[in-house]
Symmetry: C2
Subunit: 139 residues, 2 copies
DNA sequence: GTCATAATGGGAACGATTCCGAATAAGACG
DNA sequence: CGTCTTATTCGGAATCGTTCCCATTATGAC
């Protein structure tokens, strides 16, 4: 998996369910859990199974179409990111409503690599997430 | 909970189990899961229950004695950090053996705060973890 | 249309973590 | 040193998110 570039797509069939999951994610700029997406789709009358939601969410991640954030409680949340060509970035996430803003920090990237190298670590990657309360939720 | 300072300790009874969990963590400079600590203690002949291990691990975190890292697969791992007075820091963690090095990045802190402020976010905190392969595991 | 097979869905299986309630033991007091 | 209060313990049941399994369905190629 780590050997395959994120942009390297595999042939996939177009299904209603796959489209529905993508639409559900696209409708919000917030990180949402699989269970959440599933509930929303069912509430909308979509005919889809929980397994399928998980499957598509994972596919999006594999294809570089979506980002994942693991909440402190362990739940995984997903959000479509710009597009596959978008460069590496991080997120500023509202702790309350889940709204997320994509951010970049070139300095952080180089810092991380430097620190790792100084300690003899190789094959480095990192996670950087900033949590806070968005203006709307602060009220 | 969030209102109580990390250094504000509550009266606690001293028990063998509590000490055992702390020793087990202190014995290694790696992040270890509750299940892992539990298995080690039992293997050592300690009389302790899994619930108790989880309870003490959580207490350490609440008291600011330990740091937690949520692995990508969702499992929580714990490690004693310097001491409660140690300032905010992050970790460089070996993806293979779990060995962790405490690191600091003042620049990252200020960057995070600035970015958050620019987007109208308040009550900010962040997580920064760098994963890689330590020199020993690279071989 | 026909066919091979990718995709689906729902229920079982799983693994980490939490909960519960009765049994145990730490610490205070006399 | 006893007694008593209650924090702590422990193991098994319960929870919860996620994955697995596999018979059924439906996409896309010919």
């Amino acid at each position: 998996m780590s050997l395959m570039a994120a942009t390297q797509q595999v042939k996939r069939r177009a299904t209603n369910q796959g489209a529905a999951v993508k639409e559900a994610l696209a409708a919000e700029d917030t990180f949402r859990s699989a269970q959440d997406v599933y509930a929303t789709l069912r509430a909308n009358g979509e005919k889809i199974g929980l397994s399928t939601v998980y499957r598509h969410l994972q596919i999006f991640v594999d294809d570089g179409l979506a980002d994942v954030i693991h909440k402190p409680d362990g739940e995984s949340t997903y959000r479509l990111c710009g597009d596959a060509s978008t460069t590496h970035h991080h997120h500023l996430v509202c702790r309350s409503c889940g709204k997320a803003v994509e951010i970049e920090g070139p300095a952080v990237e180089t810092w991380a690599d430097k620190v790792a190298a100084q300690n003899g670590f190789t094959d480095v990657n990192h996670t950087v997430e900033i949590f806070g309360l968005c203006a709307a939720c602060a009220a």
